[in-house]
């Protein structure tokens, strides 16, 4: 028992260094509140500290993201936060017209695409983040989010499609912000 705890403790600074910020960004996206997210990430590492090494041996990333996600969703559930919902409206998304955007004052290269990401449904944002910020596979993402790898693939495919459309559109000047629903 003693040696195992010591081993886990030895890895901890390294895992902290590698995953603290990615987990913080991930939790913040789910909860929508950086402070709450900090607490969640802290709890996640404390759980890691107490976990036996065998539990996360070959896949610390997957373990950390899963634990972090569960705690973050718990916060959302307890507080009925509206930002993260559980169902995915994949079907309706596909048939809607993409929104037009206001005239762009300055299209900065950095961060611009992420701002468009922020307009996507929460679930799509989540898989995009797990894939492109954390380089996790469809399978790993599926295990973290409780979805099949196929479903993850569909979400990513849809998200990229929407991103492509909106990113392309913003490079053509649109003057008015047309609401998505007719008033």
């Amino acid at each position: 028992m003693e040696t195992r705890t010591a081993e886990a403790a030895a890895d901890l600074p390294e895992l902290l260094r590698r995953f603290e910020l990615p987990l913080l960004q991930y939790a913040t996206r789910i909860i929508g509140d950086r402070e709450r997210a900090r607490d969640v990430v802290q709890e996640t590492f404390i759980a890691l500290q107490r976990a036996r090494r065998g539990q996360f041996d070959h896949a610390p990333a997957k373990w950390l993201f899963t634990v972090c996600r569960n705690r973050a969703l718990n916060v959302c559930r307890k507080e009925r936060r509206m930002i993260y919902l559980d169902h995915e409206l994949l079907e309706t998304r596909a048939t809607e017209e993409p929104a037009a955007f206001a005239q762009i004052e300055q299209k900065e290269a950095a961060g611009f695409l992420l701002r468009i990401v922020a307009t996507l449904p929460p679930r799509q944002q989540e898989v995009l983040q797990l894939k492109f910020q954390n380089d996790l596979s469809y399978q790993e993402i599926g295990e973290i989010t409780n979805l099949s790898a196929n479903h993850v693939g569909v979400l990513l495919h849809t998200a990229l499609k929407t991103l492509r459309e909106r990113y392309g559109q913003t490079s053509r000047d649109f003057i008015s912000f047309i609401p998505r629903t007719a008033l």
Binding site: T5, Q25, F101, A110, T119, F132
Partner: protein
């Protein structure tokens, strides 16, 4: 080759098995459209990786409070003591659980044994989980301008603090929690009764914004039914679009309610006590990156004490008959361009019974919370009174929730207060 096939994206991202990959490679090579799709997707993926990486780098530059975790070995220097310590901790945990479950423990931040060795470490949520507490007893932020005894916001004089604010994205869990407790015959503890959450549990009819504005600001004032020489103000913010879409319509949203010092002596925000640790400073708000989604609505109630003739006011110029002005600052979700939507409220002296049904219902819900909390500000109101207000304003009530509230208030009459 159908470019709407998710398998194509999977191929581009290297997710296919070797056999599938080889097959797909051949298929793609035969189609110009597919080849173009793959190239574009790769480019987009690269861009995403770059921006997501930049996001991490930017976060690395921000100060963050994740403190170094305590060294496990500093707790218990000896294996023997460790096992005794674990047993003792477990025993303490059981006692704490028993005390907490019996409702005797005051609701305030709890520090676990770990944090005693490292005082900077916030571990109260860990403690909650270990003893399996009710959901509403998690972290308590310092209350905003609250009277420590009642835990409620007090009346704020306009002369010293003319501007107030409240959070736009809030939870609505409190109503269901309170209902569960009352249904089981328990008087809800004060801290589980969060008035702003209860008010916002119910939907209200707000019109969609006109023109370019992403929000409509809806203001109404009438006599405060529980203290008739006070006014009650309802502020309803409604975001453009359909809630189902979950599309972001604005970010960095901040609301400022500016009271007119020539009309108002003091005001009191109902609820929202734990949202802001600091006083009326709109620049110091909860999540600065507050993103608002389409169709989002939030309602806040203020109890207002109007300036009476004979009150000392430095210069009662009567320059404007506005009671207050609401300013909503927001940024475009993508371009980040700042904008502000503004609306002023003139108080026509409307009596409570002539206010809109939504106004009267919201007042009933708020007052229900105040009665449950035994608020020092509950004035003349009683459960019987608010039942009447609710019954007269339940409207079409398609969801049946308002009828549910009326039933709940009736049940609450049987509780000891």
């Amino acid at each position: 080759m159908n470019i709407n096939d998710p398998k194509l994206t999977a191929y581009t991202l290297g997710e296919l098995s070797e056999a599938d990959r080889v097959a797909m490679e051949r298929t793609v090579a035969e189609s110009d459209e597919a080849t173009k799709f793959v190239a574009e997707t790769q480019e987009l993926a690269q861009l995403l990786r770059r921006e997501f990486r930049a996001e991490i780098d930017a976060a690395a530059r921000k100060p963050r409070n994740i403190l170094p975790l305590p060294e496990p070995k500093s707790f218990w220097p000896d294996a023997r003591w460790r096992s005794i310590g674990v047993a003792a901790l477990f025993a303490v945990g059981c006692v704490v659980a028993a005390v907490l479950l019996s409702g005797l423990w005051p609701a305030e931040p709890r520090l676990s044994s770990a944090s005693r060795t490292d005082p900077g470490l916030q571990m109260e949520v860990m403690e909650d989980e270990r003893v399996g507490l009710a959901p509403n007893s998690s972290r308590q932020a310092r209350p905003f301008n609250a009277d420590t005894k009642s835990g409620e916001n007090q009346f704020v004089p306009v002369s010293t603090n003319p501007i107030s604010t409240f959070a736009i994205n809030i939870a609505t869990a409190s109503y269901a929690e309170v209902r569960k407790m009352i249904d089981s015959g328990t008087t809800p503890p004060r801290d589980s009764v969060r008035i702003e959450e209860m008010i916002n549990y119910f939907p209200y009819e707000y019109p969609q914004p006109q023109g370019d504005a992403p929000f409509s600001i809806n203001l109404e004032a009438a006599t405060c039914p529980w203290t008739p020489h006070h006014r009650l103000v309802r502020i309803g913010l409604k975001g453009r679009g359909d809630r189902q879409e979950q599309a972001a319509i604005a970010k960095d949203v901040k609301v400022e309610v500016e009271f007119n010092p020539t009309q108002v002596a003091s005001y009191r925000l109902l609820g929202y006590e734990t949202r802001f640790p600091r006083r009326n400073d709109p620049t110091n708000q909860s999540p600065a990156d507050a993103v608002v989604q389409s169709g989002h609505a939030v309602t806040a109630l203020y109890e207002v004490i109007p300036l009476q003739d004979g009150d000392t006011a430095a210069d009662k110029l009567q320059t404007s008959a506005n009671l207050l002005t609401v300013k909503l600052h927001h940024k475009h979700p993508i371009t980040g361009k700042s904008a502000m939507t503004e609306q002023a409220l003139t108080d026509a002296g409307t009596p409570f019974r002539e206010a809109s049904a939504d106004f009267r219902f919201a007042a009933a819900v708020a007052h229900f919370g105040m009665v449950l909390r035994n608020s020092p500000h509950k004035g003349d109101g009683t459960l019987a009174a608010l039942l009447e207000w609710a019954q007269e304003s339940s409207g079409p009530d398609n969801s049946g929730e308002r009828a549910g509230f009326i039933e709940l208030a009736r049940k609450a009459q049987k509780l000891p207060f």
